[in-house]
Amino acid sequence: MQDLLYFFQQLINGLTIGSTYALIAIGYTMVYGIIGMINFAHGEIYMIGAYTALIAITGLTALGVAWLPLILIVALVCAMIVSSSMGWAVERVAYRPVRGRHRLIPLISAIGMSIFLQNYVHLAQGSRNIGFPSLIDGGFNFGSGEGFQMSLSYMQITIFITTLICMTALSLFISRSRTGRACRAVSQDLGMANLLGIDTNRIISATFVIGAALAAVAGLLLGMYYGSVDPLFGFIAGLKAFTAAVLGGIGSIPGAMLGGLILGVAESMTSGYLSGEYKDVISFSLLILILLFKPTGLLGKPEVEKI
């Protein structure tokens, strides 16, 4: 019983972190699906989302607002607006001018963008870790009073529910809406979509904006869950989310979700049953194995020569 509770606790830990990987991975996978390129500045957009949310929360608390849902909604909206504009700007500055050139050029300009944004936040916000207020406290406990107790915090529940809502909304948007249909068309054949009268520039911008908005959601959630932000934390999270996207099959939205969850659970099980030291070893070995035996990822479609 004890061992079972321990297992479930590690599973919950893994699914929580995995859902946020999935939210960030969407940004990578959508951009790749549409223009076949990796947006290396995406991790930084997530980091900026977390900072914006923190600034909004601090501001509202200073103004005396105490009603939690209002604080969260305002913080979320602010973070999404700022991150989306960043996503849009990254596309305009680092991608559009070099689109259609050799593949390496946008890759390099995105890495430059990432370094720029990191250092910008360093300058503007300082390089220290800043504490994030834990707004959602408490949770459920399972298990007898004596031994190991499994806990499921309200924060973890919030993360699951928010991720679920975002993913469902995104799937509906892609499958039902007019813009979503255009997205799918552009992803199948950009040139043809253009000939058929789809404003491909607008669709590509929209992709960056949607990915950035979801990254902002992840930024707010993870900031609250972990408890601190620093200018470099977008880089590691971005790397993990990128791994998740590749694992699930880059270009595929359900793949990003699956990849995120698998990666999160693999990490928490490794630190739970082996040792925290091997966490990254296992997750990146997993990536190498998938790439060796199924190069398109778990749910990816085989494709001819894109990056």
Binding site: Q10, N129, S153, G227, G276, E277
Partner: protein, 370 residues
């Protein structure tokens, strides 16, 4: 015509060289190398503030052998690669005395370069034993060693007769070194070590680790590393209702841990150098810091001050500003400093240095417990 041009060139270059020499004779450069930016910049602030104060006061009292000390500051971000770059630029700038570095993992590679290039280094903060284990002639410190600090922490834990203890570290030279020292002392004292595990510095998610600590049902958790990770572990442990007492080395003891961990920092145990700023004989110096609007209470402020003072007194004792002579003078002499009487052994370590266990509070204050 041609010869006169040649002569002119020779004359100009000679006078430039003389000017350079004259310039060097009037001042002694003191390099200060530590993290001005990056995740542990807070410690860098302590180092720079202490060293600058010492340089100011020494210059106000007429300098060293009539020469003025000039501070040259370098940012190593507490990154070993950056530290090597900094060490090389110190060499290029012709600096012969360095206060630094701060993080052991930066001090170690930088000290190789200093030793090769004949630069005297005094670190006010690096506690890793390996730094002075290599028989270097020009490496000194004004702080104790992990091999002194770890046992103090371990003896404190052992005295509370805990059932099980977990030891976690950040896999870096400083963190793992001190965690190993704690583990060995605890083992000798017969305490059961339930876990000895590394985490990755820079990680944010410690939920799996906290779950594991909960499962292991430990009374004490010793963490070897710095405050950004421990702050998060404390916070995530609190929200998961982990019932254990945490303890860490001086690398976790600063006010930044309160902004990260908040309430969860209450009751954290920290081994620190004794509060030099509380000593009666240092009150004039403490006032000088306060007049400048700086806080002398950080663990590395007065150790940095002392590092500069030792170099200055070493130069005077040796009656030479050659780093090798100064090093010999430091090894031979006994010096009265704000951190007490300093005597060096052959390796460049202080013959005695005391660590004290403090209890940390959620408002950033601390009280001694032993």
């Amino acid at each position: 015509m041609r010869t006169s041009v040649k002569k002119l060139v020779t004359a100009v270059s000679t006078s430039v060289a003389l000017m350079g020499a004259g310039h060097a004779a009037a001042e002694i450069q003191i390099g200060i190398a530590g993290p001005m930016t990056g995740p542990v910049a807070q410690y860098g602030d302590m180092q720079f503030s202490g060293a600058r104060m010492a340089i100011e006061q020494i210059n106000a009292n007429g300098g060293v052998m009539g020469e003025e000390l000039v501070a040259v500051e370098y940012d190593d971000v507490c990154d070993p690669k950056q530290a090597v770059t900094v060490a090389n630029s110190l060499v290029n700038d012709g600096v012969q005395f360095v206060i630094g570095h701060l993080c052991s993992s930066s001090t170690q590679p930088a000290s190789d370069i200093y030793e090769d290039e004949g630069i005297l280094m005094v670190t006010p903060a690096s506690t890793s034993p390996e730094i002075t284990e290599r028989g270097y002639e020009l490496v000194f410190r004004t702080i104790g060693l992990d091999s002194m600090q770890g046992p103090v922490a371990a003896q404190y834990i052992a005295a509370q007769s805990p059932e099980r203890v977990a030891i976690v570290h950040d896999k870096q030279q400083y963190g793992e070194g001190i965690a190993t020292a704690v583990r060995d002392t605890l083992k000798d004292a017969g305490v059961e070590i339930a876990m000895f595990e590394g985490i990755t510095a820079g990680d944010k998610d410690f939920s799996s680790l906290v779950t594991k600590l909960k499962q292991a049902d430990v009374d004490y958790v010793y963490y070897g590393g710095y405050h950004p990770e421990l702050g998060l572990i404390l916070r995530q442990a609190r929200s998961a209702d982990l019932d254990a007492r945490f303890m860490g080395p001086e690398g976790v003891g600063n006010k930044d841990i309160n902004t990260i961990a908040g309430e969860a920092a209450e009751g954290l145990l920290v081994t620190l150098p004794p509060a030099f700023d509380q000593k009666a004989e240092n009150q004039a110096l403490v006032k000088a810091f306060e007049d400048k609007g700086e806080d002398p209470s950080g663990p590395f402020v007065l150790t940095s001050y002392t590092a500069v003072q030792l170099i200055a007194e070493g130069i005077e004792a040796a009656d030479s500003s050659d780093p090798f002579d100064v090093a010999a003078a430091l090894r031979d002499g006994t010096y009265q400093t704000p951190i007490g009487t300093v005597e060096y052994d052959k390796a460049g370590d202080m013959k005695s240095f005391e660590f004290v266990v403090y209890e940390w509070h959620s408002d950033g204050s601390k009280t001694p417990v032993n």
